[in-house]
């Protein structure tokens, strides 16, 4: 891969915004300009790489990410269950920088001025863009669980719903728990990040208990009226593999917590656990609301599915879990990667003065471990429908595994390696 303009770009260094505005002026059929990407997860890393690759270095890309390395949420339940380590789910940004010429800045974006097309950074700096991509993931609505709305409580009662320090901390809580203890995980009302993820986590914690602490229990407190994903496969795993260990309770929304006693407060009931794992309701990452772009239900970003562009703020594209999902579309890492490619193609067309592809397609596959080796999947394909202006699930396509199996356990590991390479290698 030849990146002809990379040297010029790297030379530009701190003056990137000046360079960017110059590139922005070069109209023509080939895409040029400066794209700033906020957030280096499954969506942001993908759009950054694909913009550089598909423009053959013609478009300058700056990626701003608060963490020094990428840590994957998918597969992180295996770390919590004790069969994988943090090293197994951590990938460097070095290839994005050195192989693809993406300028990676470790920092946080504190504001967006959509009229001036600039962003401000937590170090006081600012930067201009021709197009902005927000891939901010989710932030938690701690105000919905008042007892959790402070830092001390959040350091004791974990979500571990963003992979990183909380993944390790939850594993440690489980290791410290005595045999005969109770682990409770709460699930917010849909939509939430990774629909099957909480049920997978329950399985993998139960798998750990079965082997190391057989008198212990796993309680699932689900705010929803039923299992939200792969229901038949999960419930079969619970009865076949974890009878007497996993107990599922539907319509059990956690309204508050009593931190001192590790107690979840439900509408008519209280539940005390030894390890309490609360996944609060969430919404688009905070920067989405700060940018002034249109949100639906004050939570998720309203986007145009031909370009992933905000419906009320031209020039700002949004990816991944932060968007208001199209029908049956899950908030998943795989889907965020697909959003990244849809956006990259659209942005390159727009920068070259052309319309976005009028018929985009995205698809999803999601693998869940029910023990250390056996896996179940769900898949779907979504095609753009001009009548509804949405990507719609294709009827008759997609589905779930026939039964849990070890072959898909190997496929799931292969999926992780390939998607991490597709984003970051």
């Amino acid at each position: 891969m030849m990146l002809m303009k990379r040297r010029d770009f790297l030379k530009a260094g701190a003056a990137a915004s000046v360079v960017a505005s110059l590139y922005g002026c070069s109209a023509g059929t080939k895409a040029g300009g400066h794209v700033v990407v906020v957030g280096g997860g499954y969506g942001g890393a993908t759009v950054a790489k694909y913009l550089r690759m598909w423009s053959e270095g013609g478009v300058q890309v700056t990626l701003i990410e608060r963490n020094p390395v990428f840590i994957s949420c998918p597969m992180s339940n295996l770390v919590i269950g004790g069969t994988k380590t943090m090293d197994d789910i951590t990938v460097s940004y070095d290839n994005l920088k050195n192989k693809w010429g993406v300028r990676v800045i470790q920092g946080m974006v504190t504001g967006v001025d959509a009229a001036k097309k600039t962003i401000s950074l937590n170090d006081g700096g600012s930067m201009s863009y021709d197009r902005l991509v927000l891939s901010p993931g989710v932030d938690f609505m701690f105000d919905q669980i008042p007892g959790l709305d402070n830092v001390d409580a959040q350091s004791k009662i974990l979500h571990a719903w963003k992979a990183g320090p909380q993944t390790i901390a939850l594993r440690k809580q489980l290791e410290s728990m005595q045999d005969g203890g109770v682990y409770a995980i709460s699930i917010p009302k849909a939509p939430y990040r990774c629909p099957p993820g909480p049920y997978e986590r329950a399985c993998l914690v139960a798998n750990y208990f079965k082997q190391s602490k057989p008198k212990s229990k796993v309680i699932i407190l689900d705010a929803n009226e039923d299992v939200m994903s792969k229901k038949a496969l999960f419930t079969k795993a619970w009865s076949d593999l974890y009878k007497g260990i996993i107990e599922y309770r539907n319509n059990s929304e956690v309204k508050d917590v009593e931190v001192a006693t590790n107690t979840a407060v439900l509408e008519f009931d209280k539940f005390k656990a030894d390890v309490l794992n609360i996944i609060p309701p969430h919404r688009a990452g905070d920067i989405a609301a700060k940018s002034g772009i249109k949100l639906i239900n004050n939570r998720w970003v309203d986007i145009n599915w031909l370009s992933m562009e905000s419906t009320n703020t031209p020039g700002i594209h949004v990816l991944g879990d932060a968007v208001f999902p199209a029908p049956t579309m899950p908030k998943s890492g795989h889907m965020a990667n697909q959003h990244g490619k849809l956006a990259a193609a659209a942005i390159l067309n727009l920068l070259a003065g052309q319309e976005p592809n009028p018929e985009p397609v995205v698809m999803n596959t999601c693998y869940s471990f029910v023990d250390a080796k056996n896996v179940i999947h769900v898949s779907s394909v979504h095609q753009y429908d001009a009548a509804t202006k949405l990507v719609q699930p294709v009827k008759g396509a997609g589905g779930v595994s026939a039964a849990r199996n070890e072959l898909e356990g190997k496929v799931a590991i292969g999926w992780a390696k390939n998607i991490w390479a597709d984003m970051l290698a």
């Binding site: 790489k49 694909y50 690759m53 598909w54 795989h334 990667n337 697909q338 490619k341 849809l342 193609a345 067309n349 976005p356 592809n357 009028p358 018929e359 985009p360 397609v361 995205v362 698809m363 596959t365 999947h377 898949s379 779907s380 394909v381 979504h382 095609q383 294709v394 008759g396 396509a397 997609g398 589905g399 595994s401 199996n405 072959l407 898909e408 190997k410 496929v411 590991i413 292969g414 999926w415 390696k417 390939n418 998607i419 390479a421 597709d422 290698a425």
Partner: protein, 101 residues
Amino acid sequence: MKLITPIMALCLLVSASISHAADPNLARNLAATCANCHGTNGNALKGSGMDALAGMEKEKILQKLADFKSGDKPASIMHQISKGYTDAQLDLIAGYFAARK
């Protein structure tokens, strides 16, 4: 004439909607939806257990996809995914991967 004109107009409309200006990078964009599992440009990681599609003969890819779609070839997931794409889209995808290295 009175009858033919609206029919002709309808035909023109239909053909216009079918052959609306396709994106010049449509094949590339469609093939990218496969890359999560099959690697960027079809270069799956060696030893990952996924088929590397880059440089595979177009006819061979199309035959595999047709067999997944019909159920002739047993699969864990591709029988479900292949049904999500039209034959014309699969043709573009296969052609794109065949031309990669």
